[in-house]
Symmetry: C2
Subunit: 333 residues, 2 copies
Amino acid sequence: MINQVIELAERPDGQPSENNFRIKEIETPTTKDGEVLVQSKYISVDPYMRGRMRDEKSYMPPFEVNAPIQGGVVAEILESKSDNWREGDLVEGILSWQRIQTVRPELLRKVSPQVQPSSLALSTLGMTGLTAYFGLMDIGQPQKGETVVVSGAAGAVGGVVVQIAKIQGCRVVAIAGSDEKTTYLENELGADVALNYKTTTDMSEALKTACPEGVDVYFDNVGGEISDAVIPLINKFARIVLCGQIALYNETSIPHGPRVAPLLVKRSALMKGFIVTDYQNQIKEGVTALSGWYQQGLLKHQETVVEGFEKLPQAFLRLFTGEKLGKLVVQVN
Amino acid sequence: MINQVIELAERPDGQPSENNFRIKEIETPTTKDGEVLVQSKYISVDPYMRGRMRDEKSYMPPFEVNAPIQGGVVAEILESKSDNWREGDLVEGILSWQRIQTVRPELLRKVSPQVQPSSLALSTLGMTGLTAYFGLMDIGQPQKGETVVVSGAAGAVGGVVVQIAKIQGCRVVAIAGSDEKTTYLENELGADVALNYKTTTDMSEALKTACPEGVDVYFDNVGGEISDAVIPLINKFARIVLCGQIALYNETSIPHGPRVAPLLVKRSALMKGFIVTDYQNQIKEGVTALSGWYQQGLLKHQETVVEGFEKLPQAFLRLFTGEKLGKLVVQVN
């Protein structure tokens, strides 16, 4: 069986490219006592990983050059030298971009056989779903009848936020970057209004029309100019949930823009960043809520699946060009 | 007895000046049933009032041109046509800049005779003390051993924040604009380090040295470039309390600066604006805590008192030039 790994060949400067990655063949390691040998089934590509490519302090340590990229992986146990873990079990964890690897099972969560397809453990019922759930529910605290604006709304996190906000009884205004996406948001995910920021000439005006009672919660996946159009519309006691700032991830210096502090004072408003691991002690609560909505048909599954381990770098680069709907996952075959 | 009022003569464009105010003599009104007639003793000048001079929606309605300026006043009741209020009582409320006026007592709070001098009801035991208390305790949530940075630290709110943060067992780094103020902050108010931003050539470096373990709470009264030096030093889960943005109040267009959202995401940090009236249902809790510390000698009284009703416009203008220590109050005589 071929074993392959994808390493960080060099750190990107600005927009990443395929040159930043290196795929190579390696030996399959021997399973030591206490370890399991796993074969990757689905591998996740996520915007936050761009941050780990920089050599700077952040919420997770940076990737090392000439070492494997790491990210969310659903894998099957091929061999277990650990109690409580059995051959054939499906597991999920932050693992290397590698076809077959050994791992200490403390780093793994079991994926229930009810999660079908198992890639959902990386998306709606996994990291991105939990990101949407905790950010919206804990920081955003949406109340029935409030207006929730979501940027990057057709993305992996945004699509779940739109749906949870509708479940909470909110008016939802979704922002995305193509007519295909806005149609999907309005027709499939239930957004009240979806705006294509690429074709709308005056986003401020369009948002004012879409939010006649102002904005109570802004769930921001994007940052930059889209946020500059949304933030002036916030109401008293608004909550701005900062999930990602993908528009700014490839900047090489600190970007400038309109200062938000004066408006936050005027509106007694809150802005808070977070990462899903801040909620690691509440994962069970999140999974239970998401699974419940999913089983009731209130939460739709939305994934773009790319086939082929060797497509991982290309799939990662697609995150920054917006050419996808929902969660982007690579199926290893 | 002369009666006088100070009106808004015209809205300031940028930095306010004495031309924006008009002092004039008026008749003393007759007290109607249900009203009280009060004589102003101390009148407060506060930075937030600059916002009310603009013709735009904010947390309080704008002042009207050719109508009295309004702000915090401690007054004595000269005549009462309302039950429960007696001649000689001291009261506090948002009243007109006027020597003698009639008022409906629903708008008043009694000032306890134990509050000595009664101007404290406008400062440490009144609006600015409560602003410090709720902002720091509710939003900042300082924990023992954490590092708290305070900008505008020698101001009315800042000076109380410094002292409460010390009471909470924090390391306190205070920023102010003169050596007189930094000496006062270190020697009188107990700041661990006080930095004069006007003479410090590299604030970023000075702050790094003063905060070897990073910044957990930043209580910001100022905004602008000082915040730009503090914010990059925040720790994971830091809280940025936005109380005022005096550096930006006189701006005539939306100021630009480094975007903070990417860093808030990286550090899972919170930034929240507020105004003391957000806590109007908890005033008693705040006054009790502040009075307790004041009686124990843990909280020092710090006021700059200007004498003369007609000095109100000048006193207000001093807020923007920084030439004062603690709370600026005008004693009417």
